[in-house]
Amino acid sequence: MKIGVMVKNVPDTESKIKLSADRKSIEMQGVKFVMNTYDEFAVEEALQLKEKLGADTTVTVFSLGPERLVETLRTALAMGADAAVHLTDPAFEGGDSIANAKVLAKAAEAEGFDLILGGKQGIDFDSAQTLSAVAEFLGMGQAQVVTDIEVGGDNTSLKVRRRIEGGDEIVDVTLPAIISCEKGLNEPRYASLPGIMKAKKKEIKKLGLSELGLSADEVGAAGSGTQVVGYSPLKERPPVKMLEGGPAEQAKELVRLLREEAKVL
């Protein structure tokens, strides 16, 4: 089975996020980028499937983005992925989820994956669109927010468990298909030191606009139907106010505040 895993890198949750002066973008300087949390589940699942299905199963990670992405691809290789494809071209810059999905779908098509895994969403912009869009471009079946994957006897289908409101839904999926991974699917492994050393020797294939047979006007900012016009931070929570006095007094004061200050009563 040929498994493809879509990974992206996102600001580390420990990083301090600052907006640019015009509030139209995020200040990238000093921000540390790591593999998107949900993508870690996808890489781990692919590696476990490879361990289960045997040597003729391959795991290829692929992604679109700037040079800093290489480290995330290398991390996936260090975890045990066999190959990596980095989709990079100046024309890809500024793309929205759909424009990016167009590029990713082209690359996936060329690789001929039987199964594509990815995270259920990026923890940076939380759009949760790219995987679905790739599935649409490729005309593949898809199951989202999956917490368990079982491969059918003849490797042509999957039985997956999806998290839905108030319970789980169990779905049969015919391959080729795209699955988005949710927390609980597995426990992602660390890139071990021997794994990191081995990953150094694995190649990261670079593909651009022309290699993928795309034109500049269908990708990147030019190919995007949406455009970010600005970011606005949440209002900072005002300091906690401790009420004084006995229970009766406090209750009275609380009602007054809820009515007059918070205006919720």
Binding site: E71, L193, I196, M197, P239
Partner: protein
Amino acid sequence: MPASFELTEEERLIQQTAHDFANDRIVPIAAENDRRGTFPKEILKEMADLGFMSMLIPEDYGGVGLGNFSLVLVLEEINRGCASTGVTMSVHNSLASSPIIRYGSDEIKKKFLPKMATGELLGAYALSEAGSGSDAASLQCRATKDGDFYVLNGTKSWITTGAEADVFVVMVRTNPKERSKGISSFVVESDTPGFSIGKKENKLGLRASSTVQLVFEDARVPARQILGKEGEGFKIAMETLDGGRIGIAAQAVGIAKASLDASVGYANEREQFGKKIGSFQAIQWKLADMATSIDAARLLMYRAARLRDAGKPHTQEAAMAKLFASEMSNRAAREAVQIHGGAGYLKDFPVERYYRDARITEIYEGTSEIHRIVISRNLTKN
């Protein structure tokens, strides 16, 4: 000066793995292990699986053989989570596996290194005795040759991981007529007849790491388990400590980083006079000083580690890194308690543990006083 302070991609990945592992696996249990004095055995197994226990052991002997620079990257992160786990790892790599790698015969290396690499065998280092700490060359433990064996007698004190270790690098006197030149190093296994564990010390910090006495009563050690030649033991012990000290610098930096992280977190939350305490300049300046001195210590540590990996002289640089980092770490932990106020004095917050754990870094593997002697001697000679 060899290679720069910039991390290679490989080194960044190594650091990231150690960082994530420390956050996920070590930070959550560190306070409890400290409180109960529990040795982190299962964690060490996981660390060995990731390659953390074989960082200096060549691939031919089952290790990852990455070197001292990668080792300090990992040690800083592990120590940020738990200094007890950190010292166990540091001693195993730098003080136990390193002298076997550098001075052991091929037979000895084959016997011990592959199992030390998997963590099946845990290592320790025994130089100090009750009467000889800073003045290590005056040690009294004796070894006398008897056919194919050396017979060891005496007591070692303050031996880290002594209660759990399987393999000890032990310095003993083989020639009572000589001082430092009368000392030899042996690899001693914990199941050697005549070897036993003595008193287990009750300590201020590093409470999840054992510190014990080792007792040798006619303990018979195969003569082929000598490291180097007879009389070379003190030189081996000191050269080994050059590496170990870089590891202790990493421990000190790790504790200081943990102190800073906790302090930043607290300063962003705690309010007094209607404001976050982090908005007071007095607190901001403390944080700025902590961050700056941590970076300075880290660069000294990086330099010493790069030099050691390059096979260049580094005794002076290792001493400077250890001296500066350990004193810096104590200041940082002290300020962290101060920033936390009364909360910092309680076991409910981790800075109380950092404060206790930081203290040892100024004492073992050479006290600050001894390091100042080493450093100044290099300045004034000639």
